[in-house]
């Protein structure tokens, strides 16, 4: 190898730096299946699996004026009315969460497109009668699995 080639190689390596720039990691999150155990009420426009932080007071979620939005983190894909079962995956960093299925009284697209409406999300959700919200802990580089989660509105 000539000196010029060697210098070019060293220069290239030096330009890249020794630090790992850190590419995209494998994702962590939660996935599972929601099974709807009864007829959908006509009032529901959709359902969704929603993630809240652990500060959410489950007893107050249906109380008018309770700031549900302050505990909201994210949600899975909207589930259309009449669906019998639906699998979901929600990407989340390692941590503790409250995850639950909810019904939506407005079209998800309308809710998402209107920030003011979204801030009042607590007014437009229906919690299932027979689903126990769970509090999963997602550990490093793991997907937490929830299966056979029956929901009845």
């Amino acid at each position: 190898m000539s000196r010029i080639s060697l210098l070019m190689l060293i220069g290239l390596l030096g330009f890249s730096g020794c630090d790992d720039p850190g590419g995209l990691d494998s994702v962590t999150g939660v996935h599972g299946k929601v099974i709807f155990g009864s007829e959908w009420p006509d009032s529901l426009k959709a359902a969704a699996v929603v993630v809240f932080d652990v500060g959410l007071n489950l007893d107050s979620i249906s109380v008018v004026g309770y700031p549900v939005i302050d505990h909201f983190i994210t949600f899975g894909d909207p589930i259309e009315p009449g669906t019998v079962s639906s699998e979901y995956f929600i990407q989340l960093p390692p941590g503790d969460y409250i995850i639950m299925a909810i019904g939506l009284l407005v079209e998800p697209a309308v809710l998402l497109a209107n920030e003011e409406l979204f801030a009042r999300i607590g007014e437009f959700i229906v919690t299932p009668e027979y689903a126990v919200p769970r509090g999963p802990a997602i550990r490093e580089n793991q997907i937490n699995e929830q299966t056979d989660w029956y929901v009845q509105f």
Binding site: P21, G22, G23, L24, D25, V51, T74
Partner: protein, 85 residues
């Protein structure tokens, strides 16, 4: 045989500071933006009217996106055989 020719390529671009559609969600970790740091290499040789080229793109299997929510090319190994007629 006329020896070998080799090439080593490095491409770096810092992470995007802002994007059009899907900004990084710090609560969920979705749509994370990372720098582009990709190594490619090739090695070729020629014998009479034949030429063989071995090329590896993204040698270190670096995961990144160039378009929002679209994974860029992963490691690709290709062998090209050429004959001059």
């Amino acid at each position: 045989m006329k020896g070998f020719d080799a090439a080593l390529e490095y491409r770096y671009a810092s992470a995007l500071e802002s994007v059009e559609l899907f900004p990084e969600n710090l609560k969920t970790g979705q749509d994370k933006q990372v720098p582009i740091s990709v190594w490619n290499a090739s090695l070729g040789t020629q014998h009479k009217s034949w030429r063989v080229l071995l090329r590896v793109n993204n040698i270190f299997q670096y995961y990144y996106t160039q378009l929002e929510r679209n994974m860029a090319e992963e490691r690709v190994v290709s062998i090209t055989v050429e004959k001059t007629l």
